[in-house]
């Protein structure tokens, strides 16, 4: 989330620490996950690749059980799961690994302008290495147009990479439809599932997904581990990025981090068991927050599709109030902003710009992430807190004053700087 800046709140109003509402950035480990991991740091410390003694077998058994749980949540087979250090590595491995393996035959990749930086940056890297990349635009609601995707496919296209759910605006792409198009044209379909796995139902076979990146720390697992699903039938082959002892069927060498693997597995098991109920609860909290602020504040806009989005995501523009200034005002909640005021460039979020939002509207956005440990009381507190801060900052805003006077701020010739 390099474009999102987070300001840590301070102690006030009797809160020991700010309310965490940034679940798309990361999630706390579920205590049940930590519980499952602990023995593998100490007494069960074996190397899962040690095939010749008890310690190795014990670790291997734990890793394979985790692999099974990860496979189950996406409808895959355990043999199709490769452990990595996280979704960034998985995305790198999927894009570069497939591109380099098939480069003699095909040299074209299709992706989307709103992908995570690690996908876009991997694609830039491939472009510098002679590959051709098509970056599909998105509609106002953040979704791609299927006909544009199909039209972009050529006989040189090796892979389509479209994220399952967006990290900033939470919109869910039509995966089954994309998968069907890819299968029809004999093109691999990779999806970055970092934000979607464990939140919405996914099935690699029903959706014709050939590769999927998975992150543990977005689903109440530990940081530092992820996985890549790589389809076996029809087989997807890729060139390893990390060479060594040939672990993970040669696709990713390096000793497996047993406790982290166990943590990811347990996180998937819990997410699978509780997904339906959790999605219902989070959707209700999300809608309550949006309604709460919209009822009390004018000029509030939801960015990204209202229905086809993650249960726990909101991205809201509070017109005429700058996002970073607003984050400083809502110090009792920990959220992110699409404003990039702290970064070297003054460019706001490229994802919001891709929706066709004016730069000024992109500067006024907050991303609010709701998750497993968010309570209704916290949401109600957040509503009041946001409404008060936005109201106060609008009193301070020359743009709000112009708006009330009926002046269109677009009609003014701004100097810029």
């Amino acid at each position: 989330m390099s474009d999102m800046t987070a300001v840590q709140g301070t102690k006030s109003n009797g809160l020991a620490q700010p309310i965490y509402l940034d679940y798309q950035a990361t999630t706390p480990c579920d205590p049940r996950v930590v519980e499952a991991m602990l023995p593998y740091f100490t007494e069960r410390f074996g190397n899962p690749a040690s095939r010749n003694h008890y310690y190795g077998w014990e670790a291997e058994e734990a890793v394979e059980k985790a692999r099974e749980e990860i496979a189950t949540i996406i409808g895959a087979d355990a043999k199709e799961i490769v452990f990595t250090s996280g979704a960034t590595e998985s995305n790198n491995l999927a894009l570069k690994g497939v591109a380099y393996f098939y480069r003699e035959k095909k040299n074209h990749i299709i992706t989307v302008v709103t992908e995570h930086k690690c996908v876009l940056d991997s694609c830039r890297h491939l472009e510098q290495d002679g590959f051709r990349v098509t970056y599909l635009p998105v509609q106002k609601n953040g979704l791609i147009r299927l006909e544009e995707l199909e039209a972009a496919i050529t006989d040189q296209t090796v892979m389509v990479s479209v994220m399952a759910a967006n990290n900033e605006i939470g919109v869910i792409q039509p995966l089954a439809e994309i998968g069907a198009i890819c299968r029809k044209h004999g093109v691999f379909f990779h999806t970055d599932g970092a934000q979607a796995v464990g939140k919405i139902p996914l099935d690699v076979n029903a959706m014709n997904i050939d590769l999927m990146s998975i992150s543990a720390h977005k689903i109440y697992g530990p940081k530092g581990i992820g996985a890549l699903y790589v389809r076996r039938r029809p087989r997807v082959r890729l060139q390893a990025l990390i060479n060594g002892g040939g672990q993970e069927r040669g696709m990713r060498s390096g000793t497996l981090a047993t406790p982290l693997c166990v943590g990811l597995g347990e996180a998937c098991r819990i997410a699978q068991a509780e997904m339906d109920e959790e999605a219902k609860r989070l959707t209700a909290l999300r809608d309550r927050l949006l309604k709460g602020v919209s009822d009390r504040l004018p000029e509030v806009y939801l960015n990204g599709d209202a229905k086809l989005r993650l249960p726990g995501n909101l991205n809201i523009s509070f017109a005429f109030v700058e996002g970073e200034g607003l984050m400083m005002g809502v110090k009792d909640i920990a959220v992110s902003s699409g404003s990039a005021c702290t970064s070297a460039s003054l460019e706001p979020s490229y994802v919001l710009r891709a929706l066709g939002l004016d730069a000024e509207m992109a500067h006024t956005s907050l991303r609010i992430g709701i998750g497993r440990f968010t309570t209704e009381q916290e949401i109600d507190y957040a509503i009041n807190h946001i409404v008060e801060a936005v109201s106060r900052l609008r009193e301070l805003s020359p743009l709000w004053e112009m708006h009330l006077e009926g002046i269109d701020i677009k009609s003014i010739k701004w100097a810029g700087h």
């Binding site: 070297a344 301070l396 020359p398 700087h417």
Partner: protein
Amino acid sequence: MSYSEKVIDHYEHPRNVGAFKKDDDGVGTGLVGAPACGDVMKLQIKVSAEGVIEDAKFKTFGCGSAIASSSLVTEWVKGKTLDEAAKIKNTDIAHHLALPPVKIHCSVLAEDAIKAAIADYKKKNGLDETSAA
């Protein structure tokens, strides 16, 4: 990122928020920045017949540092002559608020706002534009 205590103080207790009537002859208005860049400052000065800034008001769309910079300059310009106010430098603002390098542009904007407000006042009152520099 963390803000200095002075920035937080100005952000939480901004001085001289508000507006004067733009059309008053004694009022100079400076509007600088751009919404697309994430900062807009409106600084107004009320000038006495003797050419002294009697009062100042501001409104700012921007981050905490932008709000603090403009709040601070409303305090600084009060009681100064136009020539004295025109000498306020962005570096003084940045230093006083302990702004980090990425926030220096906020202090530059505040300096620009003072200059724009003075220029507006002079233009309205038919005063020589160059004498302030």
